[in-house]
Symmetry: C2
């Protein structure tokens, strides 16, 4: 079984959407990535940090999902990273209300010995130097490194971001970030420029408008599943990334053809994530439900046209 090393936040979120609001609930990119990746046959570990205010039951739940939590450091007397946000009516944009870094401020990820040879590394959205420090600790070069990032790091750590980008295989960013990073409005041109910065695969996430995969001259597109209700978009991008990396770690095949499948698996899992607040839907999701919805994805996108 392949190992998937995940680095990302494990956190508290408080979320407000047009449909309601939550108290502090389980959140964090590492959490969403881990839950999503746990749907595949692989050994996932999360490297992260929390305070001792972090409920043991959350850690137990992750462990029950088969996630190795031994590298989630619990800082005594420390407080867990906390984010709070409020979504606008269209759920496509949000305001951040609170960001308390807490223990995350001094986070120095320590890759556990038994994961220093992980086949796949998923670098969740963190400071590029933190992401790089994880790669520095690997004793065996990973077969695949996937990196997620955001506009914040482009604004304040662009040089470091460029440095780590040279060491990865896949970058996942959203459309606006791709435009910012490349200076190109056209996503086709943006992806071509980002290729030259390092990653041979560029995944551009467009939220409810799906995701694009670029590789050399090839392009693949997966829509988001049209849903009756999108309840809470929090974590959808990380769930997508977790499904993407998890599928590739399981199948150990990074051909373009297989990477297309990874995009579909990621989109499929993300379509569940948004159905409930926080991680609730991902915690209760069954493999059968996930397979059933894959059939919907196929029906949604597949057609037969005979070309002369």
């Amino acid at each position: 079984m392949n190992k998937l090393l995940i680095v990302g936040t494990v956190a508290f979120d408080a979320i407000e959407t047009p449909f309601g609001k939550t108290d502090k609930i389980l959140g964090g990119a590492g959490t969403y990535i881990g839950l999503s990746a746990s749907f595949f046959h692989l050994k996932p570990a999360i490297v992260s940090v929390v305070g001792d205010d972090f409920p043991q039951e959350y850690l137990d739940m992750m462990e029950k999902k088969g996630i190795d939590i031994s590298a989630i450091e619990v800082v005594k007397g420390g407080k867990t990273f906390f984010w709070s946000g409020k979504y606008h009516n269209d759920l496509n944009s949000r305001d951040t209300l609170v960001t308390e870094l807490n223990t995350l401020a001094d986070f120095q990820p320590k890759v556990p010995e038994n994961f220093k040879d992980a086949e796949v590394v998923m670098l969740g959205n963190l400071h590029p130097l933190v992401q790089a420090s994880v790669l520095d600790q690997m004793t065996v070069k990973p077969k695949l490194v996937v990196l997620d990032t955001m506009n914040f790091w482009m604004d304040c750590a662009l040089e470091e971001l460029h440095a780590v980008m040279k060491r990865i295989d896949v970058i996942t960013i959203n459309d606006e970030e791709a435009r910012q990073l490349s200076g190109e409005y056209s996503l086709v041109k943006a992806a071509a420029k980002i290729h030259t910065m390092g990653p041979k695969y560029v995944v551009i996430k467009k939220g409810e408008h799906g995701a694009l995969l670029f590789h050399d001259k090839d392009v693949f597109f997966a829509p988001a599943l049209p849903l009756e209700e999108v309840f809470d978009p929090t974590g959808a991008g990380d769930t997508f990334a977790g499904g993407f990396a998890g599928y590739l770690a399981q199948s150990e095949n990074i051909s373009f053809k297989n990477t297309k499948n990874a995009i579909i698996y990621g989109s499929n899992l993300a379509s569940f994530c948004v159905e409930k607040f926080g991680t609730e839907r991902m915690e209760n999701l069954t493999r059968e439900e996930a397979v059933e919805r894959l059939k919907k994805f196929r029906a949604l996108t597949q057609f037969e046209i005979e070309l002369e």
Copy 2:
């Protein structure tokens, strides 16, 4: 060969985009629909009106494409409908600078005798009463009626729009219009409500984000082809509709499976339309180019996942 009756504007447009601006050039929904439909094996006719300021060469060009122009009325001393617009930098929105209805103000479409039994009718975006008057003139019930409309008619002729919607098979509208017409934000819910207003097929156009096809419980999605440059979006929606209706008129099969193909053909043709100002690209497009790009659409969207 099946007949496709098209009702829509034949007009002058003056367009400004971030890439340049045009003088008065050929435009109009009927024009774009006709040019797009002319790629299929069928007999298309456009019912419209122009003034005697309308250049004969435009009419000649359409006739050369195999379009029956005998029902494009030329009003002596009249002026042709003129629209001018300026696109914003992202090309997703635009301001209308000028709308001169001219001869269109009194347009009373007259369906030519030999098209009163057309198998397919494409009602371009016009007053719902004008659209209805075309259906009134049919002596044989068409096998398929496709209607395009816009928010303007929802604002000022909603009752008439509802009346004509009861007589059609397919409606094509954009996402915002679907929300306005249904009062639902979710496009899945919006389509379900619009179904109950008449059309069994609901096509929701999302511009650069593709198009959705709803039919009973089935949904199909076609992306817009990611392009290096979108030069001028004018007419893309009408080109899409013309390709959609043209393919269905040619194949005479309105199963869901075949209607999915129609969505792909429409999206394919629309992807060319935006590459040049106005109708230029559609006038010069060859069948070979169109077939070649269909292969790109297939590569963009098709995947193979084995499900247990």
